[in-house]
């Protein structure tokens, strides 16, 4: 498929603009543009065809089953798209006077209340733009909290199964990272934890259920260890889809929680974003929340900027408002029975686990929550078929692969999260495919090794991509990588999120 720049032709143009009878203005010559940017020159029909073609070369939840572990690829309700495009939301300027934005303020205030209830923690900020920004905000809150108490604490504990954003956020917030191990039952190793928590510990970052899809059975003890040391607990909400209305992070002992609105609360993933990462906190952390807060006075809503202990702003304006509209609509479509979403998510995952656990290695033999981890370790040892190969072969069956090579503590990991919106027929078709791949590994491994067979491209050369680092179109100087060495190279495993 050609790049849009390769479809350009000088003089073609899709836009029509109004022109007015007002005098032109000269830009001072030292500030004026000399060479115009080489944007595409394309007509509207060609433009629409181009983006349509891009979309047909992309697999979304709308296309088929997408069991990426820890991503919660659930169906995105279409009514959300209708309401987010109401002009009263879509065309509202963020600096509009509060009196002229009461509907927006009210929606945000109501969403805050719903999220507080799900978290079991009273104070909420909707500002962070994504889960990892929520994490960073939570860590900044920790730092501000201890500074306010005159305490110097430098260390944050993270599980060895943690998502990569956790250690990265810890560093960006200026803390030192400590890693705690997971035991053979898939819980945090409490003995190992006791050794490392002391007066220099600021807190713990944990998701529960973990990235293994397992609920930590010792969570109450873990919370006590940190609280007794005067430290805080941070909940990574990536796996919240398992426990909404079933167990609340605040009740588990967590002091700060972030939500992933694009996981649990149906904001579409958009090919990589946008998302939303609001946080909920205990009362004693409320003064440090980002500014402004949203407050209600009688029937009216307004912003409160008078927050002297606030950490400041982590993002422009109030957060990704369009994402709030969708998440609020989503929660209102379930109402108080939101727990049904999690019950079915967990049921779907356990059903798939039951169908697959004998054909693949199971690192932890327990009931799972909303996701589970299998290993292709035996397939690799006996037939040379890796988790990567399984993933590529699944594409031939019309499925998006699960997350692979994560969490890091399981070799040849396949992390599978079906979500609650899938039909039993889909789960059965996926299980049948996985079983067939396990059989083919022994009988016809080549067909797996050479997968996928039918996608727009087949396995790509990541080494060439990193070495050549061609990250934009070079116009006349664009290199032709298809003419460069095309020997079969050993391709590297791709890490999932």
């Amino acid at each position: 498929m050609k790049l849009i720049y390769e479809k350009s032709s000088p003089g073609r143009r899709a836009s029509t603009l109004p022109s007015y009878d007002v005098p032109g203005v000269e830009v001072p010559p030292e500030l004026a543009r000399e060479e115009p940017p080489r944007l595409p020159e394309i007509s509207e029909p060609e433009l629409v065809r181009h983006f349509t073609e891009l979309s047909t070369r992309t697999f979304g939840v709308d296309t088929g089953f997408y069991p990426l572990g820890s991503c919660t690829m659930k169906h995105n309700p279409r009514v959300n798209e209708r309401v987010v495009n109401l002009p009263g939301f879509r065309d509202l300027h963020p600096l509009q006077e509060a009196e002229g934005a009461q509907g927006a303020l009210e929606l945000m205030w109501r969403l805050q209340n719903e999220l507080a209830e799900v978290a079991g923690l009273p104070a909420v900020s909707l500002q962070p733009a994504a889960g990892s920004q929520g994490e960073l905000t939570g860590l900044m809150l920790m730092r501000a909290y201890f500074a306010d108490r005159g305490e110097q604490r430098h260390k944050v504990v993270v599980a060895d199964t943690a998502h990569g954003t956790n250690p990265a956020s810890v560093t960006m917030a200026g803390f030192e990272l400590q890693k705690v191990e997971t035991d053979e039952r898939g819980n945090i190793d409490v003995a190992h934890l006791r050794e490392m928590v002391d007066g220099d510990t600021a807190g713990l970052m944990l998701t529960n259920p973990s990235t293994l899809g397992l609920f930590d059975e010792h969570i109450e003890e873990i919370a006590a260890i940190f609280h007794e040391a005067g430290a805080l607990l941070y909940y990574d909400g990536a796996n919240l889809n398992a426990v909404c209305g079933i167990s609340r992070p605040g009740d588990m002992g967590f002091d700060i929680v972030h939500f992933n609105l694009h996981k649990t609360f149906s904001q579409p993933h958009g090919g990589g974003g946008p998302g939303g990462g609001p946080i909920a906190v205990r009362d004693r952390l409320e003064p440090f929340l980002p500014v402004p807060a949203i407050v209600r006075e009688g029937e009216a809503f307004r912003f409160d900027y008078d927050r002297p202990k606030s950490i400041g702003k982590v993002r422009g304006y109030y957060g990704p408002f369009g994402v709030f509209v969708r998440s609020y609509a989503y929660i209102r479509s379930y109402g108080p029975a939101l727990r049904e979403m999690s019950e079915v998510a967990v049921l779907n995952a356990n059903y798939l686990l039951a169908r697959l656990k004998d054909a693949y290695d199971l690192p932890f033999d327990r009931l799972c929550m909303h996701e589970f981890v299998l290993s292709a370790r035996t397939l690799k040892k006996e037939h040379g078929i890796t988790a990567l190969d399984v993933a590529k072969r699944l594409m031939d069956y019309g499925f998006h692969p699960p997350t692979i090579y994560f969490p890091l503590i399981v070799p040849e990991a396949l992390m599978i999260e079906p979500t609650e919106t899938e039909a039993k027929e889909t789960l059965d078709a996926f299980a049948d495919a996985m079983l067939e791949i396990a059989r083919d590994a022994a009988e016809s491994p080549d067909v797996i090794k050479e997968a996928p067979h039918d996608r727009p491209v087949r396995r790509v050369d990541e080494v060439k991509a990193a070495k050549r680092a061609v990250v934009k179109y070079g116009f006349e100087d664009h290199p032709d990588l298809t003419k460069e060495s095309s020997e079969a190279r050993e391709l590297e495993a791709q890490k999932g999120a």
Partner: protein
């Protein structure tokens, strides 16, 4: 429940296959002490049509730019979003795809991002762009993180004429990065290169905005040179819609170019979601935060696109990552690409010229004293209304006209200053109406 596909019979069969008698049993590992019983205290469930009615009611309480004549800008702008952008954003595959970690499943998104990266490099005159940042404020924090690692220095300099949102976000991130932040005041609405250069001497980077928050054209080449000479990275925060008429930061020696993408193809949406952009010279490619798409070939020798240089990112590098960003703003960036492709180079220049022309007409027509009379401006300018600006705003809004932003909300000593923004969506007749309202 319309979002769930299981029937009662399905559930029975599945429970049997798992070997439990109820869904409740699936949660037996959760200690009773943390088990929530009963219903959440959440508002009642609504059917689809009730949901739409409820949200329409909330939306109706907002005064949007279709409901009043608006000259409000100050960082987010009422530019025209063409219908092709809507068409692109609604394609289900693009809307509902995940981050393209499996390139065989995502060539469309990957190629789209590659094209977006190219467009940003073309606009800014840079060699490498990432796949988008959260917004125009957080990319400034990202730029500081890059500069810290490149220079080893621990101070950043911000021109005071940079958007208050941007400066506040940088100041929030700075302590965690171990960075000190210094503001350089504006002089009559612009930034003095010598003063900036002086402050930059031990700085990791200097951030200035072009056009600046007051709509004023800064001496950008001199500001970049002053920073470069002091050994600090020069970071230009730019309006993408100005880059058809104003010189690209790369052409005047800036090290990084950042900005808010909203004016180029996104609706205002009460502040988000939008996309931030960040682009740099080739030297810094391995320091760039976030995702980058690169070109390569597949086993059959076909051209293909893939996320590359991922070792910089959180999911491999973990605590040494260049950023913690995972989810970014892809769909909004693709909307930006669609918009810039719709405009084309000729259209980009025209929209810039039109905004400048209309703004100049408005300055003339309003006949109010300018806050910075000696400065050249782009699509915004500040006037003095002779009494507290917030009062003037309230009164004008009551007449269906939003006249602009009261600068006293962010700056001292400008009680009666109003920042008026004029985009290609306003007509000379609209401007006449504004003049009428402000004259009373």
């Amino acid at each position: 429940m319309s979002q769930l596909s299981l029937t009662d019979r399905d559930r029975e069969e599945m429970l049997a296959a798992i070997g439990v008698s109820s869904v409740e049993e699936l949660f037996r590992d959760i200690p009773e002490g943390v088990r929530f019983r009963g219903d959440l205290d959440i508002e009642s469930a609504l059917s689809e049509q009730e949901l739409v009615a409820h949200l329409e009611e909330l939306a109706a309480k907002n005064v949007h730019t279709g409901a009043e004549l608006s000259f409000l800008g100050a960082g987010i702008y009422d530019h025209y979003v063409p219908a092709v952008v809507d068409a692109v954003m609604q394609r289900g595959e693009l809307l509902t795809a995940y981050t393209p970690y499996q390139p065989e499943m995502s060539q469309g998104v990957l190629q789209g991002i590659f094209e977006y990266q190219t467009a940003i490099c073309e606009l800014t005159g840079m060699d490498v762009s990432n796949a988008s940042g959260y917004d125009g404020a957080t990319v400034a924090a990202d730029a500081c993180y890059v500069a810290k690692h490149v220079t080893g220095r621990s101070k950043v300099v911000l021109a005071e004429a940079v958007s208050p949102q941007v400066r506040q976000v940088v100041k929030t991130y700075a302590p965690g990065f171990g960075l000190e932040v210094v503001d350089v005041p504006h002089r009559d609405g612009a930034t003095d290169p010598d003063e900036l250069g002086e402050a930059a001497r031990d700085a990791a980077c200097v951030i200035f905005q072009q056009p600046n928050f007051f709509g004023v054209l800064e001496p950008a080449p001199d500001l970049a040179a002053a920073a470069n000479e002091a050994g600090a990275l020069s970071v230009a925060h730019v309006d993408p819609l100005s880059l058809g008429v104003l010189e690209a930061p790369g052409a005047y020696g800036a090290a990084l170019a950042i900005g808010e993408g909203q004016p180029a193809g996104n609706y205002q949406a009460y502040g988000g979601p939008h996309y931030g952009f960040i682009a740099s010279r080739a030297d810094y490619v391995r320091r760039m935060p976030g995702r980058i798409v690169g070109e390569t070939t597949d086993v059959d020798g076909k051209r293909a696109y893939v996320l590359t240089l991922q070792t910089r990112e959180q999911h491999i590098r973990r605590e040494k990552a260049t950023s913690n960003i995972t989810t970014n703003q892809t769909l909004l960036a693709l909307a930006g690409l669609a918009y810039l492709s719709w405009l084309g180079p000729q259209g980009l220049r025209e929209v810039g010229e039109t905004c400048m022309g209309l703004a100049a007409y408005a300055k003339e027509r309003l006949g109010l004293p300018l806050l910075f009379p000696d400065q050249t401006t782009f699509k915004e300018f500040a006037v003095r209304v002779g009494r507290p600006a917030e009062e003037v705003v309230r009164e004008a809004c009551a007449k269906g006209v939003h006249p602009g932003y009261a600068l006293k909300r962010d700056y001292a000593g400008v009680e009666d200053a109003l920042l008026v923004s004029v985009t290609e969506k306003r007509t000379p007749a609209d401007i006449d109406r504004l003049a009428e309202v402000l004259a009373t």
